[in-house]
Symmetry: C2
Amino acid sequence: MSGKREAKKEALRQAIINAARQRIAESGLDELRARDIAKDADCAVGSLYTVFSDVDDVVLHVNSSTLTQLGSVMEAASKSADSPQEVLVALAVEYLKFATENRNIWSALFNHRLPEGAPAPEWHVAEHLVLMRWIAIPLAKLRPNLDEKALAVQSRILFAAVHGIVSLSLEGRFVAVRRRDIETQLIQFINDIIRGFDKE
Amino acid sequence: MSGKREAKKEALRQAIINAARQRIAESGLDELRARDIAKDADCAVGSLYTVFSDVDDVVLHVNSSTLTQLGSVMEAASKSADSPQEVLVALAVEYLKFATENRNIWSALFNHRLPEGAPAPEWHVAEHLVLMRWIAIPLAKLRPNLDEKALAVQSRILFAAVHGIVSLSLEGRFVAVRRRDIETQLIQFINDIIRGFDKE
DNA sequence: CCCAATTTTGAACAATGTTCATTTTTTTCT
DNA sequence: AGAAAAAAATGAACATTGTTCAAAATTGGG
Protein backbone atom coordinates (compact mmCIF):
# COMPACT_ATOMS: atom_id res chain seq x y z
CA MET A 1 0.00 0.00 0.00
CA SER A 2 2.61 2.47 -1.05
CA GLY A 3 0.17 4.63 -3.02
CA LYS A 4 0.00 6.77 0.08
CA ARG A 5 3.55 7.91 -0.48
CA GLU A 6 2.84 8.94 -4.01
CA ALA A 7 -0.29 10.77 -2.91
CA LYS A 8 1.58 12.77 -0.29
CA LYS A 9 4.30 13.60 -2.72
CA GLU A 10 1.75 14.75 -5.23
CA ALA A 11 0.00 16.85 -2.59
CA LEU A 12 3.31 18.51 -1.79
CA ARG A 13 3.96 19.16 -5.47
CA GLN A 14 0.64 20.90 -5.80
CA ALA A 15 1.05 22.83 -2.57
CA ILE A 16 4.39 24.13 -3.81
CA ILE A 17 3.09 25.03 -7.24
CA ASN A 18 0.12 26.83 -5.72
CA ALA A 19 2.27 28.67 -3.23
CA ALA A 20 4.60 29.77 -5.99
CA ARG A 21 1.74 30.86 -8.22
CA GLN A 22 0.23 32.84 -5.37
CA ARG A 23 3.54 34.57 -4.66
CA ILE A 24 4.11 35.35 -8.32
CA ALA A 25 0.58 36.68 -8.69
CA GLU A 26 1.04 38.97 -5.71
CA SER A 27 4.57 40.22 -6.12
CA GLY A 28 5.85 39.05 -9.48
CA LEU A 29 8.49 36.58 -10.52
CA ASP A 30 11.36 38.76 -9.32
CA GLU A 31 10.22 38.55 -5.72
CA LEU A 32 9.87 34.78 -5.70
CA ARG A 33 12.02 33.15 -3.02
CA ALA A 34 12.57 29.47 -2.31
CA ARG A 35 12.16 30.03 1.42
CA ASP A 36 8.87 31.88 0.95
CA ILE A 37 7.45 29.14 -1.22
CA ALA A 38 8.42 26.55 1.39
CA LYS A 39 6.88 28.58 4.19
CA ASP A 40 3.61 28.99 2.29
CA ALA A 41 3.54 25.32 1.35
CA ASP A 42 4.21 24.34 4.96
CA CYS A 43 7.38 22.44 4.36
CA ALA A 44 11.11 22.89 4.79
CA VAL A 45 13.20 24.51 2.08
CA GLY A 46 14.88 21.19 1.46
CA SER A 47 11.59 19.48 0.73
CA LEU A 48 11.15 21.65 -2.30
CA TYR A 49 14.20 19.97 -3.78
CA THR A 50 12.85 16.48 -3.18
CA VAL A 51 9.96 17.24 -5.52
CA PHE A 52 11.42 19.73 -8.00
CA SER A 53 14.92 19.99 -9.30
CA ASP A 54 15.14 23.69 -8.48
CA VAL A 55 13.08 26.88 -8.31
CA ASP A 56 13.16 27.24 -12.10
CA ASP A 57 11.47 23.88 -12.31
CA VAL A 58 8.69 25.14 -10.03
CA VAL A 59 8.23 28.23 -12.16
CA LEU A 60 8.05 26.04 -15.24
CA HIS A 61 5.13 24.20 -13.69
CA VAL A 62 3.39 27.41 -12.69
CA ASN A 63 3.80 28.58 -16.26
CA SER A 64 2.44 25.30 -17.48
CA SER A 65 -0.76 25.84 -15.54
CA THR A 66 -0.95 29.39 -16.85
CA LEU A 67 -0.78 28.06 -20.38
CA THR A 68 -3.67 25.74 -19.62
CA GLN A 69 -5.69 28.71 -18.38
CA LEU A 70 -4.76 30.68 -21.47
CA GLY A 71 -5.79 27.73 -23.60
CA SER A 72 -9.28 27.83 -22.12
CA VAL A 73 -9.50 31.54 -22.76
CA MET A 74 -8.45 31.08 -26.37
CA GLU A 75 -10.92 28.27 -26.86
CA ALA A 76 -13.76 30.37 -25.48
CA ALA A 77 -12.76 33.29 -27.68
CA SER A 78 -12.73 31.03 -30.71
CA LYS A 79 -16.32 30.06 -30.04
CA SER A 80 -17.48 33.60 -29.39
CA ALA A 81 -17.75 34.56 -33.05
CA ASP A 82 -18.38 33.02 -36.43
CA SER A 83 -16.34 34.92 -38.97
CA PRO A 84 -12.59 34.31 -38.85
CA GLN A 85 -12.00 38.05 -38.71
CA GLU A 86 -14.08 38.34 -35.58
CA VAL A 87 -12.39 35.31 -34.06
CA LEU A 88 -8.93 36.79 -34.57
CA VAL A 89 -10.04 40.05 -33.01
CA ALA A 90 -11.64 38.19 -30.11
CA LEU A 91 -8.45 36.17 -29.56
CA ALA A 92 -6.37 39.34 -29.43
CA VAL A 93 -8.77 41.15 -27.14
CA GLU A 94 -9.05 38.20 -24.78
CA TYR A 95 -5.30 37.85 -24.74
CA LEU A 96 -5.01 41.49 -23.75
CA LYS A 97 -7.67 40.99 -21.10
CA PHE A 98 -5.94 37.94 -19.67
CA ALA A 99 -2.63 39.74 -19.55
CA THR A 100 -4.20 42.76 -17.87
CA GLU A 101 -6.10 40.78 -15.29
CA ASN A 102 -3.28 38.36 -14.53
CA ARG A 103 -0.35 40.62 -15.10
CA ASN A 104 2.30 38.94 -12.97
CA ILE A 105 1.27 35.40 -13.80
CA TRP A 106 1.21 36.25 -17.48
CA SER A 107 4.50 38.07 -17.50
CA ALA A 108 6.20 35.18 -15.69
CA LEU A 109 5.43 33.20 -18.81
CA PHE A 110 7.70 35.40 -20.88
CA ASN A 111 10.14 36.89 -18.42
CA HIS A 112 11.26 33.65 -16.88
CA ARG A 113 14.72 32.74 -18.15
CA LEU A 114 16.33 29.40 -17.57
CA PRO A 115 20.02 29.53 -16.70
CA GLU A 116 22.49 29.84 -19.55
CA GLY A 117 22.40 26.88 -21.87
CA ALA A 118 19.43 25.11 -20.32
CA PRO A 119 16.75 24.86 -22.99
CA ALA A 120 13.13 24.63 -21.87
CA PRO A 121 12.04 21.00 -21.65
CA GLU A 122 10.32 19.65 -24.72
CA TRP A 123 6.97 19.15 -22.97
CA HIS A 124 6.84 22.83 -22.06
CA VAL A 125 7.65 24.00 -25.57
CA ALA A 126 4.83 21.79 -26.82
CA GLU A 127 2.39 23.53 -24.49
CA HIS A 128 3.14 26.81 -26.21
CA LEU A 129 2.55 25.37 -29.63
CA VAL A 130 -0.96 24.37 -28.69
CA LEU A 131 -1.81 28.06 -28.31
CA MET A 132 -0.70 28.70 -31.88
CA ARG A 133 -3.33 26.31 -33.11
CA TRP A 134 -6.13 28.58 -31.97
CA ILE A 135 -4.73 31.30 -34.18
CA ALA A 136 -4.09 28.99 -37.11
CA ILE A 137 -7.72 27.88 -37.35
CA PRO A 138 -9.30 31.25 -38.22
CA LEU A 139 -6.21 32.25 -40.18
CA ALA A 140 -6.59 29.21 -42.42
CA LYS A 141 -10.04 30.42 -43.44
CA LEU A 142 -8.73 33.85 -44.31
CA ARG A 143 -5.76 32.56 -46.26
CA PRO A 144 -6.87 29.26 -47.80
CA ASN A 145 -3.94 29.19 -50.18
CA LEU A 146 -1.37 28.78 -47.39
CA ASP A 147 -0.01 25.29 -46.76
CA GLU A 148 0.28 23.85 -43.28
CA LYS A 149 3.84 25.03 -42.77
CA ALA A 150 3.29 28.60 -43.95
CA LEU A 151 0.17 28.72 -41.82
CA ALA A 152 2.14 27.75 -38.75
CA VAL A 153 4.70 30.46 -39.43
CA GLN A 154 2.01 33.08 -40.04
CA SER A 155 0.30 32.14 -36.80
CA ARG A 156 3.49 32.59 -34.85
CA ILE A 157 4.17 35.93 -36.50
CA LEU A 158 0.68 37.17 -35.76
CA PHE A 159 0.91 36.00 -32.18
CA ALA A 160 4.29 37.63 -31.78
CA ALA A 161 2.97 40.95 -33.08
CA VAL A 162 -0.05 40.93 -30.78
CA HIS A 163 2.09 39.81 -27.89
CA GLY A 164 4.53 42.63 -28.61
CA ILE A 165 1.77 45.20 -28.47
CA VAL A 166 0.27 43.80 -25.29
CA SER A 167 3.65 43.34 -23.74
CA LEU A 168 5.27 46.70 -24.36
CA SER A 169 2.01 48.41 -23.53
CA LEU A 170 1.32 46.60 -20.28
CA GLU A 171 4.82 46.42 -18.95
CA GLY A 172 4.78 50.10 -19.77
CA ARG A 173 8.50 50.43 -19.19
CA PHE A 174 8.66 53.05 -21.87
CA VAL A 175 6.57 53.32 -25.00
CA ALA A 176 3.56 53.66 -22.75
CA VAL A 177 0.12 53.92 -24.28
CA ARG A 178 -2.88 54.73 -22.12
CA ARG A 179 -4.44 51.50 -20.94
CA ARG A 180 -7.90 52.10 -22.31
CA ASP A 181 -6.46 52.98 -25.73
CA ILE A 182 -4.66 49.70 -26.15
CA GLU A 183 -7.75 47.64 -26.87
CA THR A 184 -8.94 50.10 -29.51
CA GLN A 185 -5.53 50.08 -31.10
CA LEU A 186 -5.26 46.32 -31.00
CA ILE A 187 -8.60 45.88 -32.75
CA GLN A 188 -7.68 48.39 -35.38
CA PHE A 189 -4.32 46.72 -35.82
CA ILE A 190 -5.78 43.24 -36.39
CA ASN A 191 -8.24 44.68 -38.86
CA ASP A 192 -5.46 46.47 -40.73
CA ILE A 193 -3.56 43.21 -41.03
CA ILE A 194 -6.58 41.32 -42.28
CA ARG A 195 -7.38 44.03 -44.80
CA GLY A 196 -3.77 43.78 -45.92
CA PHE A 197 -4.30 40.07 -46.63
CA ASP A 198 -7.23 40.86 -48.93
CA LYS A 199 -5.15 43.06 -51.16
CA GLU A 200 -2.23 40.68 -51.53
CA MET B 1 43.67 72.05 -10.70
CA SER B 2 40.98 69.69 -9.48
CA GLY B 3 39.70 68.94 -12.97
CA LYS B 4 42.08 66.01 -12.84
CA ARG B 5 39.92 64.34 -10.22
CA GLU B 6 36.85 64.76 -12.34
CA ALA B 7 38.70 63.39 -15.35
CA LYS B 8 39.78 60.28 -13.47
CA LYS B 9 36.30 59.73 -12.19
CA GLU B 10 34.94 60.06 -15.69
CA ALA B 11 37.54 57.62 -16.99
CA LEU B 12 36.48 55.13 -14.35
CA ARG B 13 32.84 55.62 -15.30
CA GLN B 14 33.61 54.82 -18.90
CA ALA B 15 35.83 51.88 -18.04
CA ILE B 16 33.03 50.40 -15.97
CA ILE B 17 30.40 50.97 -18.61
CA ASN B 18 32.63 49.45 -21.27
CA ALA B 19 33.51 46.47 -19.12
CA ALA B 20 29.84 45.89 -18.40
CA ARG B 21 28.89 46.22 -22.05
CA GLN B 22 31.61 43.76 -23.02
CA ARG B 23 30.44 41.26 -20.43
CA ILE B 24 26.82 41.61 -21.48
CA ALA B 25 27.74 41.25 -25.16
CA GLU B 26 29.67 38.07 -24.45
CA SER B 27 27.52 36.30 -21.90
CA GLY B 28 24.27 38.18 -21.59
CA LEU B 29 22.74 40.26 -18.84
CA ASP B 30 22.08 37.25 -16.63
CA GLU B 31 25.77 36.50 -16.27
CA LEU B 32 26.73 40.05 -15.35
CA ARG B 33 28.50 40.22 -12.00
CA ALA B 34 29.67 43.26 -10.04
CA ARG B 35 33.00 41.58 -9.28
CA ASP B 36 33.62 40.74 -12.92
CA ILE B 37 32.92 44.29 -14.03
CA ALA B 38 35.35 45.60 -11.41
CA LYS B 39 38.05 43.15 -12.45
CA ASP B 40 37.70 44.09 -16.12
CA ALA B 41 37.68 47.78 -15.29
CA ASP B 42 40.77 47.36 -13.09
CA CYS B 43 39.27 48.60 -9.90
CA ALA B 44 37.94 47.23 -6.63
CA VAL B 45 34.31 46.21 -6.31
CA GLY B 46 33.74 49.07 -3.96
CA SER B 47 34.90 51.63 -6.51
CA LEU B 48 31.97 50.72 -8.69
CA TYR B 49 29.70 52.09 -6.00
CA THR B 50 31.55 55.39 -5.82
CA VAL B 51 30.60 56.11 -9.41
CA PHE B 52 27.27 54.32 -9.86
CA SER B 53 24.52 53.77 -7.35
CA ASP B 54 24.37 50.05 -8.07
CA VAL B 55 24.74 47.50 -10.87
CA ASP B 56 21.32 48.39 -12.26
CA ASP B 57 22.57 51.90 -12.72
CA VAL B 58 25.51 50.60 -14.74
CA VAL B 59 23.18 48.54 -16.92
CA LEU B 60 21.03 51.60 -17.47
CA HIS B 61 24.04 53.42 -18.86
CA VAL B 62 24.98 50.50 -21.08
CA ASN B 63 21.42 50.50 -22.38
CA SER B 64 21.64 54.21 -22.93
CA SER B 65 24.62 53.76 -25.24
CA THR B 66 22.80 50.94 -27.01
CA LEU B 67 19.92 53.30 -27.69
CA THR B 68 22.32 55.80 -29.19
CA GLN B 69 23.66 53.08 -31.49
CA LEU B 70 20.15 52.08 -32.42
CA GLY B 71 19.34 55.69 -33.13
CA SER B 72 22.14 55.85 -35.69
CA VAL B 73 20.89 52.68 -37.32
CA MET B 74 17.38 54.06 -37.54
CA GLU B 75 18.61 57.32 -38.98
CA ALA B 76 20.61 55.53 -41.66
CA ALA B 77 17.63 53.34 -42.50
CA SER B 78 15.44 56.40 -42.83
CA LYS B 79 17.79 57.81 -45.42
CA SER B 80 18.12 54.58 -47.35
CA ALA B 81 14.83 54.94 -49.20
CA ASP B 82 12.46 57.59 -50.45
CA SER B 83 8.94 56.24 -50.20
CA PRO B 84 7.55 56.00 -46.68
CA GLN B 85 6.64 52.36 -47.33
CA GLU B 86 10.23 51.52 -48.12
CA VAL B 87 11.47 53.46 -45.11
CA LEU B 88 9.19 51.55 -42.75
CA VAL B 89 10.36 48.27 -44.21
CA ALA B 90 13.99 49.37 -43.96
CA LEU B 91 13.52 50.39 -40.34
CA ALA B 92 12.05 47.00 -39.49
CA VAL B 93 14.73 45.09 -41.35
CA GLU B 94 17.55 47.10 -39.80
CA TYR B 95 16.01 46.62 -36.38
CA LEU B 96 15.99 42.89 -36.96
CA LYS B 97 19.57 43.05 -38.18
CA PHE B 98 20.71 45.04 -35.18
CA ALA B 99 19.00 42.63 -32.82
CA THR B 100 20.52 39.63 -34.56
CA GLU B 101 24.03 41.02 -34.67
CA ASN B 102 23.96 42.41 -31.14
CA ARG B 103 21.72 39.91 -29.52
CA ASN B 104 22.79 40.20 -25.89
CA ILE B 105 23.25 43.95 -25.93
CA TRP B 106 19.88 44.39 -27.58
CA SER B 107 18.05 42.03 -25.30
CA ALA B 108 19.49 43.73 -22.22
CA LEU B 109 17.52 46.74 -23.36
CA PHE B 110 14.25 44.91 -22.81
CA ASN B 111 15.03 42.22 -20.29
CA HIS B 112 16.58 44.47 -17.71
CA ARG B 113 14.17 44.98 -14.83
CA LEU B 114 14.67 47.53 -12.13
CA PRO B 115 13.81 46.34 -8.62
CA GLU B 116 10.17 46.46 -7.58
CA GLY B 117 8.79 49.95 -7.54
CA ALA B 118 11.81 51.73 -9.00
CA PRO B 119 10.70 53.37 -12.23
CA ALA B 120 13.30 54.00 -14.92
CA PRO B 121 14.71 57.51 -14.61
CA GLU B 122 13.06 60.11 -16.77
CA TRP B 123 16.16 60.72 -18.92
CA HIS B 124 16.23 57.06 -19.92
CA VAL B 125 12.57 56.95 -20.83
CA ALA B 126 13.15 59.98 -23.03
CA GLU B 127 15.88 58.14 -24.90
CA HIS B 128 13.37 55.52 -25.94
CA LEU B 129 10.92 58.08 -27.21
CA VAL B 130 13.49 59.43 -29.63
CA LEU B 131 13.41 56.10 -31.44
CA MET B 132 9.68 56.40 -31.93
CA ARG B 133 10.24 59.59 -33.92
CA TRP B 134 11.97 57.68 -36.70
CA ILE B 135 8.86 55.61 -37.14
CA ALA B 136 6.50 58.56 -36.89
CA ILE B 137 8.10 60.42 -39.79
CA PRO B 138 7.31 57.93 -42.58
CA LEU B 139 4.06 56.98 -40.89
CA ALA B 140 2.89 60.60 -41.05
CA LYS B 141 3.23 60.53 -44.82
CA LEU B 142 1.18 57.37 -45.10
CA ARG B 143 -1.54 58.58 -42.79
CA PRO B 144 -1.71 62.35 -43.25
CA ASN B 145 -5.06 62.59 -41.51
CA LEU B 146 -3.65 61.53 -38.11
CA ASP B 147 -2.97 64.25 -35.58
CA GLU B 148 0.28 64.39 -33.61
CA LYS B 149 -1.07 62.40 -30.71
CA ALA B 150 -2.62 59.61 -32.76
CA LEU B 151 0.57 59.43 -34.76
CA ALA B 152 2.62 58.93 -31.62
CA VAL B 153 0.33 56.12 -30.51
CA GLN B 154 0.43 54.45 -33.93
CA SER B 155 4.21 54.62 -33.96
CA ARG B 156 4.42 52.92 -30.61
CA ILE B 157 1.99 50.23 -31.69
CA LEU B 158 3.89 49.56 -34.88
CA PHE B 159 7.18 49.44 -33.02
CA ALA B 160 5.72 47.10 -30.44
CA ALA B 161 4.46 44.74 -33.14
CA VAL B 162 7.79 44.63 -34.95
CA HIS B 163 9.62 44.29 -31.68
CA GLY B 164 7.36 41.41 -30.71
CA ILE B 165 8.13 39.57 -33.90
CA VAL B 166 11.86 40.14 -33.64
CA SER B 167 11.84 39.36 -29.97
CA LEU B 168 9.89 36.13 -29.86
CA SER B 169 11.66 34.95 -32.97
CA LEU B 170 15.19 35.71 -31.83
CA GLU B 171 14.87 34.72 -28.24
CA GLY B 172 13.39 31.60 -29.76
CA ARG B 173 12.20 30.36 -26.40
CA PHE B 174 9.23 28.75 -28.05
CA VAL B 175 7.38 29.98 -31.08
CA ALA B 176 10.58 29.52 -33.03
CA VAL B 177 10.69 30.52 -36.67
CA ARG B 178 13.74 29.70 -38.76
CA ARG B 179 16.09 32.64 -38.62
CA ARG B 180 16.31 33.24 -42.35
CA ASP B 181 12.52 33.24 -42.65
CA ILE B 182 12.03 36.03 -40.17
CA GLU B 183 13.17 38.80 -42.47
CA THR B 184 10.88 37.63 -45.26
CA GLN B 185 7.99 37.45 -42.82
CA LEU B 186 8.75 40.82 -41.35
CA ILE B 187 8.75 42.50 -44.75
CA GLN B 188 5.50 40.84 -45.72
CA PHE B 189 4.04 41.83 -42.39
CA ILE B 190 4.88 45.52 -42.75
CA ASN B 191 3.49 45.52 -46.25
CA ASP B 192 0.27 43.87 -45.07
CA ILE B 193 -0.13 46.58 -42.47
CA ILE B 194 0.48 49.36 -44.93
CA ARG B 195 -1.93 47.83 -47.39
CA GLY B 196 -4.45 47.69 -44.56
CA PHE B 197 -4.07 51.45 -44.07
CA ASP B 198 -4.97 52.07 -47.70
CA LYS B 199 -8.28 50.32 -47.38
CA GLU B 200 -9.40 51.99 -44.20
C1' DC C 1 57.73 67.83 2.28
C1' DC C 2 53.60 67.52 5.20
C1' DC C 3 48.80 67.42 6.30
C1' DA C 4 44.00 67.28 5.46
C1' DA C 5 40.73 65.93 2.24
C1' DT C 6 39.49 62.64 -0.99
C1' DT C 7 39.50 58.29 -3.14
C1' DT C 8 40.27 53.47 -3.34
C1' DT C 9 40.23 49.25 -1.27
C1' DG C 10 38.68 44.63 -0.13
C1' DA C 11 37.17 42.28 4.00
C1' DA C 12 32.76 41.74 6.08
C1' DC C 13 27.67 41.47 5.86
C1' DA C 14 23.16 40.13 4.28
C1' DA C 15 20.28 37.70 1.17
C1' DT C 16 19.49 33.74 -1.38
C1' DG C 17 19.66 29.05 -4.00
C1' DT C 18 21.09 24.59 -3.03
C1' DT C 19 23.04 20.46 -0.55
C1' DC C 20 23.33 16.75 2.69
C1' DA C 21 24.07 14.58 7.32
C1' DT C 22 20.71 13.89 10.75
C1' DT C 23 16.06 13.14 12.43
C1' DT C 24 11.42 11.70 11.70
C1' DT C 25 8.01 9.04 9.45
C1' DT C 26 6.41 5.15 6.95
C1' DT C 27 6.56 0.51 5.37
C1' DT C 28 7.72 -4.20 5.79
C1' DC C 29 8.60 -8.38 8.14
C1' DT C 30 7.98 -11.60 11.83
C1' DA D 1 2.19 -5.24 17.76
C1' DG D 2 6.95 -4.22 17.64
C1' DA D 3 11.38 -3.79 15.59
C1' DA D 4 14.25 -3.15 11.73
C1' DA D 5 14.78 -1.19 7.22
C1' DA D 6 13.62 2.13 3.84
C1' DA D 7 12.09 6.56 2.58
C1' DA D 8 11.20 11.25 3.28
C1' DA D 9 11.58 15.61 5.66
C1' DT D 10 14.40 18.77 7.92
C1' DG D 11 17.09 22.91 8.51
C1' DA D 12 21.88 24.07 9.49
C1' DA D 13 25.69 24.85 6.60
C1' DC D 14 27.77 26.24 2.21
C1' DA D 15 28.57 28.96 -2.03
C1' DT D 16 27.57 32.92 -4.62
C1' DT D 17 26.15 37.45 -4.97
C1' DG D 18 25.19 42.63 -4.33
C1' DT D 19 26.40 46.13 -1.26
C1' DT D 20 28.67 48.67 2.68
C1' DC D 21 32.17 50.87 5.29
C1' DA D 22 36.36 51.25 8.30
C1' DA D 23 40.96 51.42 7.07
C1' DA D 24 44.75 52.34 3.80
C1' DA D 25 46.46 54.77 -0.08
C1' DT D 26 46.51 58.79 -2.88
C1' DT D 27 46.20 63.48 -4.01
C1' DG D 28 46.40 68.57 -3.96
C1' DG D 29 47.57 72.79 -1.67
C1' DG D 30 50.60 75.33 1.26
